[in-house]
Symmetry: C2
Amino acid sequence: MKKVEELIKLFKSKDLKITPQRLGIFKVLEGNATHPSAESIYNEIRQVYPTISFTTVYKTLEVLESLGEILKITIDAGRKYFDPNTIPHHHIICSQCNMIADVNEGLEELKLPNEILDKFTPSRYDISFYGTCKQCA
Amino acid sequence: MKKVEELIKLFKSKDLKITPQRLGIFKVLEGNATHPSAESIYNEIRQVYPTISFTTVYKTLEVLESLGEILKITIDAGRKYFDPNTIPHHHIICSQCNMIADVNEGLEELKLPNEILDKFTPSRYDISFYGTCKQCA
DNA sequence: CTGTGTGCAAAACGTTTGCATGCCT
DNA sequence: AGGCATGCAAACGTTTTGCACACAG
């Protein structure tokens, strides 16, 4: 995701309005590597903007996603997580506390077997590592 | 997942009852590589056992999962999929029709960077490839 | 006969939508 | 002033739960 300043320019250039709610969401997401859910974003913003609604959070996340500024990540069924880091990367999830950390390097390009390449044209892949984090060990 | 015959023995050995409903679910899952959702399992069984309920499907899937006979797989938030193939493997998902196919081979062991190994003890990983299948291309 | 399994209905959960009002530009 | 954004409440799709009845062992 771009920096807040750039994001404001981007929104204005697309005739999207800058509201205090949206600004709050931008700030929560900027540089956020915790992979927050809609609920945790909502809870965080409510501390500075107590009247914001879930609807606004969801709608703004939708706008940001459609602009390619954030990604939805699927770690567990039943809840969506959002990632402002749009550079391709992978994740490791603690099986105890569900903390999600980024995995950015050390991964060579994967080659799929011909059996698969006969039936699919792959475009990208996500790896989810599971394990136990230091705190939980 | 074990074969139905073995599954029956396993259930009996744990004092779990064999009912026609459970048997129907076993049969739908046996050798099933389509990664069905609870709903598609339910629809399939209803053709031979029209009075079965969603509740029973979910509860039986829960029992099978707790016995380690099936795995829940997370492909999209909002719906759970079940996989009777409990041997570690990966998946490729068609972005158009959402078909899910297994990826069993051609993948070397992945090494994580030290930056991650300092903070986590990894136990396993799942790769989700995304692409377009032949039919949709 | 006993207790686990079933199935209905309702609740729970996260997310989405319709609509009237608000406010950014 | 105009139109997009907000926020309430209700709808939604999926999964879970409480409870009375049924049936496998």
